[in-house]
Symmetry: C2
Subunit: 379 residues, 2 copies
């Protein structure tokens, strides 16, 4: 018998491509844009500054402005707000406080990978029409969640844009993004470049669920669930529904990286585990082998997705965070201290593996998975 | 006889409200957001920094980071891309090089109002689906125009986001925005606060046309034009169509503000003339009277819009830039020098009026227009 939470056996694997995002179409533009962007870095010399070339292709762009480095970024939430909109119809709750945190997390968790302290966040809330803002409960939740995330990260909310874009953004929808500016101060905190080396430990920080990547797949999957978003993710164990489990907000990791600095730990490198799942551990351009010896428990919502999408571990770990939201590459003798500092901030952490000399690959030993050099093409 | 470029007499005035943007619905959210944002400024103290309180409510947010001020912003293009999309259907050209410049101008022209040198721009290109990027001609024009605008302003293009947001952004459309980060260096360049004073001269910089504000109205107006976007704006004089005239890219003003700094001119205040038209001259929170004695020739496309929308001058100057894209408030003895510096950068400029002691109001003397204190509610 097929229970509501079991996949129908004849539906086959649901891959990311099938869920509607075709990276082949985006990537040629990205390459052209990256090439054009790289040519503009030289303009900084006229102002007496220079870019940190190693930050090209990293998650945030870094400029040397003398006494410190300046880091900046803009990041999109993606399609997670569509889940909140569907759930609103089903439960009457707005969920936009969580959505706000997700949006800020997309920007801040990327900005901190270069060693920056996030200072200012700007809001980009582009609605499909003025009437989006007429739903006071939802609008107030967005404001409250945005402020709470800024409070948690100690950043100033500088302002932002709230355009009504009928004809561009769909009616009833909102396109959410955040920009973030920060400083790498002192400059020794810079964590791009050639600090990463064999012998470094890989410390992973726990995710809270799907975060804000893999949502196209997660939304597509709803079509396979007899109760849709209201399908229990652990039938008989809890009443938590698939929709609510998806909407657990993304963990904000800057309290951890700031606490590490205060504790005297400077990561050699960081990776925010977002799109491309664990393949993001291959992000650094150098040639190293990354050996993982300890994987975390998989959040219920992600094992639910893996099971219903009939993905094997290779597919799941190449798409979803599978319980690890952020990777810190630290000197081996600081690994345990890194874990302790993270946990003191309320973020579960563990020493998951190490960097070794060898061909560029990621070995997830407990699962028998190997990703090669060709698994991640971001530059 | 009614020529194609004359308004049909029975259609009546087309106001901004009629064109679909209802600010009453957006503003309560804005107020709540501004209040919440203001409460987060105190977080900067933990990093040893502080906000420049006078920048709250200005076009860019400013933080005192010690050796200089840090300014940041995110800005949306708005609906101008829809005009490019329509014109693409009619002429086969893409126009996205101009659209790229418009988008960057929205961010940079705001950032410079606080006295900042723009340093880094991030691109936010959210498409309705991956297939937007499959149109190589259009995508390459967007990249080329973006780079050219960065070159013109001497900023580094740091990177950005190119999400495919099916279900949020409409199919075939793109939501364009830019974030910009800059420094106010030396700190004396800061142009918010109480420097603005009676006796200052008002220097206006010419616009190139509609820029990127008032497009909802301009698009709505097309319904009244028998030849739509292909209607000549000056029948018998040129073949320039309404659509192409609308798509003249926004002037980038940072080459002027940078040249002013090199020439030893520090504006006391600046206003980017965008939404709300000339009412933006009332932006500064202090109580002064702004007396305009010289207005520019109105760009053809704007007088065309005014005529066909049957707007009187009060309505037109409260919505459109009417030939003035940017306002510099400078010491009276530097007014002529300011004009000369701007024109040396290829931007037409003129001494347009002065700041006087008196109630808060804008007097456009040649047109007999007065805007009172209640004409602009931005804070």
């Amino acid at each position: 018998m097929i229970t509501p939470s079991s996949p129908a056996p004849d539906q086959g694997t649901l891959s990311y491509e099938q869920s509607g995002v075709n990276y082949d179409l985006i990537d040629p533009l990205k390459v052209a844009a990256q090439r054009a962007a790289a040519a503009t870095g030289a303009h900084l010399a006229a102002h007496g500054f220079s870019e940190v070339a190693a930050s090209r292709g990293e998650s945030a762009y870094v400029v040397d402005v003398g006494p410190f480095y300046l880091a900046s970024i803009v990041e999109c939430l993606g399609s997670k707000a569509l889940v909140a909109d569907e759930m609103r119809q089903l439960t009457g709750k707005s969920y936009y406080d969580a959505i706000a945190q997700d949006t800020i997390a997309m920007a801040i968790n990327d900005l901190i990978t270069v060693g920056a302290t996030p200072l200012v966040v700007q809001a980009y809330w582009a609605a499909g029409g003025s009437d989006w803002f007429a739903d006071a409960q939802r609008a107030q939740a967005l404001v409250a969640g945005w402020k709470a995330a800024c409070d948690r990260c100690g950043v100033a909310w500088g302002g932002g844009e709230t355009p009504a874009l009928a004809g561009i953004v769909e009616a009833g929808r909102i396109d959410l993004a955040a920009s973030c500016t920060g400083l790498i101060n002192p400059k020794e905190r810079l964590s791009v470049g050639d600090r990463l080396a064999p012998g470094d430990a890989i410390v992973l920080l726990a995710s809270s669920g799907i975060h804000a990547n893999g949502l196209s797949l997660a939304r597509k999957l709803v079509e396979r669930l007899p109760q849709g978003y209201l399908t229990p993710v652990e039938p008989g164990v809890s009443t938590l529904t698939y929709g609510e489990a998806l909407l657990a907000p993304t963990v904000l990791y800057s309290p951890v990286t700031e606490a590490l600095y205060r504790a005297g730990v400077t990561p050699h490198y960081c990776a925010n585990i977002t799109g491309h799942g664990w393949r993001k551990l291959l992000r650094h351009p150098a040639i190293h082998t990354y050996r993982i010896h300890t994987v975390p428990d998989v959040p219920t919502v992600l094992s639910f997705i893996q099971r219903h999408a009939q993905q094997d571990d290779l597919e799941a770990y190449s798409t979803l965070n599978m319980g690890a939201g952020f990777a810190l590459f630290v000197p081996a003798d600081q690994a345990e201290r890194t874990v302790a500092v993270a946990e003191a901030q309320g973020v579960r952490a563990w020493v998951a593996g190490r960097v070794e000399a060898g061909p560029k690959r990621l070995l997830i030993k407990p699962l028998g998975i190997e990703f090669g050099d060709d698994a991640l093409q971001l530059r």
